[in-house]
């Protein structure tokens, strides 16, 4: 029998067919493996992507299509607008998009320059926006993106006034759904010479960014910071404020008071390129609950028509988008979905028109397509979350751009299809009344009735 090194992490035990195996609910195989891993390494696990646990989500809601009491639009004949305008509160130049589906902030560093270019090209083709990330703006993404949102993060890596001036909007990032309260993280194997240069860091170090902004603290300061950004940009550009979903009702109110044009609320299903496992799975609240709280905060302040709300965190399908809009969002942002559209977790990548198997590289990471969350490693088998000069060539910008464009187009078509079925000439006319919930949890979180009843848990009795 082969022996393992003392510090090796044991894998799942292999058993014969005749053994009686009673798995513990509390100490199941996942938890046993977690404890064994912690005992072997003394370090917590860092991984990419978002929460993998089951959470109440948009899947737990259903639309009430039109019938006798509502009048539908003809699916292939009557127009349903998806035009979306963001930043109407104070900005002289609000953003007008052709779809409410935008691309979320993801850094050059976590992603390759080819990927950033592909996302910009896809967003431009779809007349929507894409967003920079922790690490600054690359020339590739600026040149390829018609509408680019420039993030102002606690680290301020690569943040500079020239890029502020050439951005179309500024997004002040307070937190993200995968790790509200945590700073960015980029492990050394992804801190290439170019990434290090843009971030003013030594090449190859494990980079841990700040979780607090360097020049302001608290909501009163934020109001002054936003005014500074408005002064620098001559009040032209919309200012977004992005929060990770925790105390959403209060945070949204504070962001409104601080002067945000647009508020981005990122639920706990939101992705990350590298974060501690315990952070991803145990901090924050689900997107479903976050949307309702954010909308209630805006309605409470009578700002629903003045301040736009973007929701992100686990948005995957056109139905998800429609449900977010019906709950009161003005737009959504997608990160993981567009990475998967690019080829993340695919078993192959495309080179010069040919599919090439990536299975061997997944296996080197100890995983397979459909399960991979090793963005933190820098060894992305399909060349997306990498700075490796060989691996990054696996994502050809033209191929990636086409796939993301197709994905965003599909979602927009699904969105308008559902809106028409609910009798809406504009996707922004979808409303809470169009929704019911499949579970009591979802009904309580989303604030819509349990299907077949008028009961919204926490809001009195119903039938």
């Amino acid at each position: 029998m082969a022996t393992l090194p003392a510090d090796a992490v044991p894998g799942p035990a292999q058993h014969g067919p005749d053994l009686q195996l009673e798995e513990s609910a509390g100490f199941d195989r996942h938890i046993i493996h977690y404890i064994q891993r912690a005992a072997a390494t003394g370090l917590y696990e860092i991984r990419g992507m978002g929460s993998k646990r089951h959470l109440p989500h948009f899947d737990d809601l259903l639309f009430l299509g039109a019938s006798l009491s509502r009048y539908p639009l003809e699916g292939y004949r009557e127009k349903c607008s998806s035009t979306t305008v963001l930043g109407t509160r104070y900005a002289k130049k609000p953003i007008t998009l052709g779809t409410p589906i935008t691309i979320a902030g993801m850094s050059f560093g976590s992603l390759s320059a080819n990927v950033k270019e592909a996302l910009g090209r896809a967003a431009t083709e779809m007349n929507t926006s894409t967003t920079t990330g922790d690490g600054g703006m690359t020339s590739e993404e600026r040149q390829s993106s018609k509408t680019l949102v420039y993030q102002c993060l606690p680290s301020r890596y690569g943040f500079n006034p020239d890029d502020v001036r050439r951005a179309d909007a500024i997004e002040v990032v307070i937190g993200q759904g995968a790790k509200p309260g945590g700073g960015g993280m980029l492990l050394g194997q992804k801190v290439s010479a170019r990434v290090a240069g843009m971030r003013t860091l030594p090449e190859g170090i494990d980079q841990r960014s700040a979780s607090r902004h360097p020049d302001w603290t608290g909501p009163d300061d934020l109001a002054i910071k936003i005014k500074e950004l408005r002064e620098i940009t001559d009040w032209e550009k919309p200012i977004y404020v992005k929060v990770g979903a925790t105390r959403v009702f209060n945070d949204v109110k504070l962001a409104v008071h601080a002067g945000a044009d647009v508020i981005v609320v990122d639920g706990m299903q939101g992705g990350t390129a590298a974060t501690q496992w315990a952070f991803i799975e145990h901090v924050g609240i689900p997107t479903l609950a976050a949307v309702r709280q954010a909308v209630e905060a805006l309605e409470d302040l009578n700002k629903k028509q003045e301040v736009q709300l973007i929701v992100s965190g686990g948005i995957r399908t056109g139905a998800d988008v429609a449900k977010a809009l019906a709950l009161g969002a003005d737009a959504v942002s997608i990160g993981q979905g567009v990475l998967i559209a690019l080829g993340c977790n695919s078993d192959s990548y495309v080179q010069r028109g040919q599919h090439v198997s990536a299975l061997a590289d997944y296996h080197k990471l100890g995983t397979g397509p459909g399960y991979c969350h090793h963005c933190q490693s820098g060894f992305c088998p399909v060349g997306i979350t990498t700075q490796d000069p060989v691996l990054e060539q696996r994502l050809e910008p033209a191929v990636g751009a086409k796939r993301v464009r197709n994905y965003l187009r599909t979602l927009t078509m699904e969105l308008t299809m559902i809106a028409r079925a609910c009798g809406k000439q504009d996707v922004h006319h979808l409303e809470r009344e169009d929704l019911v919930a499949l579970t009591i949890e979802a009904a309580a979180m989303a604030g819509v009735p349990l299907a077949g009843t008028s009961w919204i848990p926490g809001r009195g009795a119903g039938i």
């Binding site: 301020r156 006034p161 003013t200 170090i205 360097p214 302001w216 620098i232 001559d234």
Partner: protein
């Protein structure tokens, strides 16, 4: 249309008792060819004075400034003839910013280039996330100064508060007075000839006189550059 008062050849005056910060900044973002100096009268602690400048102009702020004075400065020289609120010269890229009096928290935070001179004391977190600029402080600095400072130099002529240089990267700090405590991974190192020359040059640029030999060098021990289970997450 910006109305200016008492125009003198090459010198423009703004009076913030009668004109707004918006008018001032809009003017400073316009075509400044031929303008050498802009005097801002009655600033009265207003926020965001002379922010986002992108020209080699001199701006004199005739009194106290609020938050973010000369924020994101590029190329300009901004002199504050009083005290400055939090975030003075934040994210400066180039040029020169001077504070005649005291500077509040986060002075020069994340500044990439240029020179910030504070003749009095600086508050908490001076030079936080510094990314390449130089800062000279005539007096003391508050706690957690140079926190996570990545590049650039700080000269502190007085004492430094707690946690100086916590989680430093490649920035270097020179301190003449006492250091109340060093932050994680910061350490005192010997002064080389290069360090002495750097201190002399920076003091000369700031117009402050002290012997370079009286300064200590503080730099990163570089023990936090990679994950390390033995560090017990005490950082």
């Amino acid at each position: 249309m910006v109305s200016v008062i008492a125009p003198v050849a090459q010198r423009i005056e703004f009076d913030l008792q009668r004109q707004s910060v918006r008018e001032l900044n809009q003017y400073l973002h316009g075509d400044l060819s031929g303008v050498q100096e802009v005097l801002v009268k009655n600033p009265d602690g207003a926020h965001s004075l002379a922010v986002g400048l992108n020209a080699a102009v001199r701006v004199d702020i005739g009194g106290h400034a609020g938050y973010f004075a000369a924020g994101m400065n590029k190329s300009a020289t901004v002199v504050i003839h009083g005290n400055a609120g939090p975030g003075v010269a934040e994210n400066m890229m180039s040029g020169r910013v001077e504070v005649a009096g005291f500077a509040s928290g986060g002075a020069g935070g994340s500044a990439h280039g240029g020179l910030l001179v504070i003749r009095g004391d600086a508050g908490l977190r001076c030079g936080i996330s510094l990314k390449g600029a130089d800062i000279v402080v005539g007096g003391e600095v508050g706690s957690f100064s140079a926190f996570m400072a990545q590049a650039g130099r700080m000269v502190i002529c007085g004492d430094a508060g707690d946690g100086l240089g916590d989680s430093l990267y490649e920035a270097v700090i020179y301190v003449r007075g006492k250091i109340r405590s060093l932050g994680a991974d910061a350490r005192v190192e010997p002064m080389s000839e290069r360090d002495l020359a750097a201190v002399r040059d920076l003091l000369a640029a700031a117009g402050i006189t002290h012997p370079a030999s009286e300064f200590k060098r503080v730099a990163s021990g570089r023990t936090l550059y990679h994950w390390n289970a033995d560090a017990h997450q005490e950082y």
